[in-house]
Amino acid sequence: MTQPERSRNAAGEARVVALVSSGRHPVSGRAGRAREDARAVEMGLALAGASLHLAHAGDAEDAALPEYLGMFHGLDGAGGPGELSLLPMAAGDDAVPLLATWLEAYGANLVLTGQRAECGEGSGLLPYLLAERLGWAVATGVAAIEHCEGDRITVLQALPQGQRRRLEVRLPCLLCVDGVAPMPRQSAFGPSRRGRVEAVTNVTAEPDTLQAAWQWQPARARPKRLKVVKSTNARDRFKAAAAKSAASGGQVLTDLSSDEAAQKLIDYLRAEKVLPAVQPGEEGQPSA
């Protein structure tokens, strides 16, 4: 993968914005950067350098905001202080109309954000609602940005089991950054002090009426599923309850030469589709 080296070149004419939210440490519960949002900021810094702009809808006193601004260091060229636009709103307000109007007014065309917030509803719906409202494209699970040319950006999408898929996304777009993206750089004290937070005043937040009807409660541990044996026969139920789990009875091959064993192993792996099936042209290969 080629690392985007020069800020203006790598991002092209894209105006890159990262949406950041307040996070919560998974163990200590301390307020700070959200893990996926920090990765999104890192990705934006690698792509656009110091011209990356941050946006946050919420409280101005949030402890996470200086931490994000403190990531503006170690950049090529004129690494100016970070800038963050703050859209003031209360906890129960709807962030989608605010962000949508601000993004249009700012003229952003590439927006990076995490997949899911760590505080509040944390549903991961916001990028989709924004994209639907603005008519933009949205791609999720982004692990890396490969390059950005014209109105197209090529990204790698994270799939289960460590696999990757290459996507080409049309600008303007929203990219939801996955947790397997490159690690974010540390937040430094100096840049966080120098960073500017500008409150946007010409927007008014509206309360989220749907959310008011919900009941919030501390998360309960999910019950473990019990293995229930449905049988009319008491003896079967007893046997299932008393049985040992192991001894599924696999196939055991003994007294094979190593060549035969290797052939059996290759056949098994091919049958299970772990190895690709044999190509028609490969039949003539010398087999030991």
Partner: protein, 432 residues
């Protein structure tokens, strides 16, 4: 099973000792209720004379089971009740994930949740049908999973490429045609979690305010759903139109069998052809080859793991390269310095979830077996046929691991090049 029939005449003769034919019907009862209500058992009347002339009393039920298997085949699983639904009035739509074209456990849980929601709306009496919407042609097991109807969208959307916008358009057409009461998706990225959020956003923008999805739903109880929010909180709310559910959100269907009748697409969506043709924003350029050694061990799909039984380490690394497998190791191999600590599999290392795990020369300590409980297929190559790993394995080869790996590389056309490096490893081991 034959019906036990009573002969009232025989019963009467058995009860009346003065009956002239009493001796014909009287048989020694082994269990009866005495006059004061106590159950009495006569052990002498119990059991049967075995082949050696010794009386045997078998309380395990084995003789009953043997007799049952001799007769007509009776399945151990109780038969499921057939549920037929002629004219559905409302729908609950499920979009199963179908990894590798099969229903996963998560998919079955989704259908279980859909059945619960359908029952809450009146069930089959009210004509609420669960409809499975798939992007693949042949899906086995939808009847057992609990689908009354199914819709096959494979003719509209390519099954194996990632085209979320085309899929969203197809689902929006289904929304117009069926107007399901609920949509249920699996909440995982980038599959159902992505598609469900797109659909929820589309519906919410179209004016359906209640369509805001409930994500990470893990329970449905008393007409309300519990969904996990950020910051260690749960949200209890009315059932949303779009639900993105976690695994084990409900019990899978086990007592009923459903029809899974195929709905005709052309009769359904006359307006599908008129759906909006937006330019595709996301184009799939295909899978990217990933270096198996770069995948985190916990996620790797194919692991070749080595233990004390491996002595040719160069050959092992070469075999991992040839097979395209991630490298794993047992604790012994790591402690001896042959493999880095980050590659250790087991309770003190990494818990792996490979779909295929090949253990070479690993006897299978308990801690190691704990680490591979989530692996779907385990292959063991070991010289000891009685070791625990061979018992755990689905496919076991008894033999020398080094020789088998070398033969595998040779048969795949890439034998290991000769080199004199192996002595170097020995020296390092002794120094450690």
């Amino acid at each position: 099973m034959s019906v036990r029939r009573l002969d009232p005449h025989a019963e009467r003769a058995r009860r009346n000792r003065l009956h002239p034919r009493h001796h014909e019907f009287a048989r020694p009862a082994w269990r009866w209720t005495s006059g004061d209500g106590v159950t009495r058992i006569n052990p002498h009347a119990l059991g049967a004379i075995g082949p050696n002339g010794i009386k045997r009393i078998d309380r395990s039920g084995a003789s009953v089971e043997a007799a049952a298997s001799a007769g007509p085949q009776a399945s151990a699983e109780p038969s499921r009740r057939q549920v037929r639904l002629e004219a559905p009035q409302a729908y609950v739509a499920v979009v199963p994930e179908l990894p590798e074209g099969r229903l996963s456990d998560h998919d079955r849980d989704l259908f279980g949740l859909a059945r619960q929601l359908a029952e809450a709306r009146g069930g089959a009496e009210a004509g609420v049908a669960v409809v499975a919407i798939t992007f693949q042609t042949e899906v086995a097991g939808l009847e057992e999973a609990g689908a009354d109807r199914r819709v096959d969208l494979s003719s509209r959307v390519e099954a194996d490429s990632y085209a979320p916008e085309a899929r969203l358009a197809a689902l929006a057409a289904m929304e117009a045609a069926l107007a399901p009461a609920h949509w249920i998706f699996a909440d995982d990225f980038p599959g159902g979690g992505d598609l469900g959020r797109r659909l929820a956003a589309r519906l919410a923008l179209a004016g359906d305010a209640a369509a805001r999805a409930a994500t990470r739903v893990w329970q449905f109880a008393d007409g309300q759903t519990l969904s996990r929010a950020g910051d260690r909180q749960d949200i209890q709310r009315e059932v949303a139109r779009v639900l993105l559910a976690l695994p084990e959100c409900a019990e899978p269907v086990s007592e009923t069998l459903h029809a899974a009748t195929l709905l005709d697409l052309d009769a359904l969506d006359h307006e599908l052809s008129a759906s909006d043709e937006r330019a595709a924003g996301v184009a799939d350029l295909g899978r990217v080859a990933v270096d198996p050694q770069q995948i985190p061990l916990a996620q790797a799909p194919f692991i070749l793991s080595a233990g004390r039984g491996v002595s040719d380490w160069d050959g092992y690394h070469h075999a991992a390269r040839v097979l395209g497998a991630s490298e794993g190791a047992s604790r012994v191999a790591v402690d001896d310095g042959y493999m880095p600590r980050s590659r250790q599999v087991g309770a003190t290392g990494t818990f792996v979830s490979a779909s295929c795990y090949v253990a070479v020369g690993i006897s299978g300590a308990v801690q190691h077996l704990q680490g591979i409980t989530k692996c779907q297929r385990v292959v063991a190559i070991n010289s000891d046929p009685s070791c625990d790993m061979v018992k755990r394995a689905d496919f076991a080869i008894i033999g020398d691991g080094d020789a088998v790996l070398a033969a595998v590389c040779a048969q795949l056309g890439q034998p290991q090049p000769e080199s004199g490096d192996s002595r170097h490893e020995e020296v390092r081991h002794d120094a450690a």
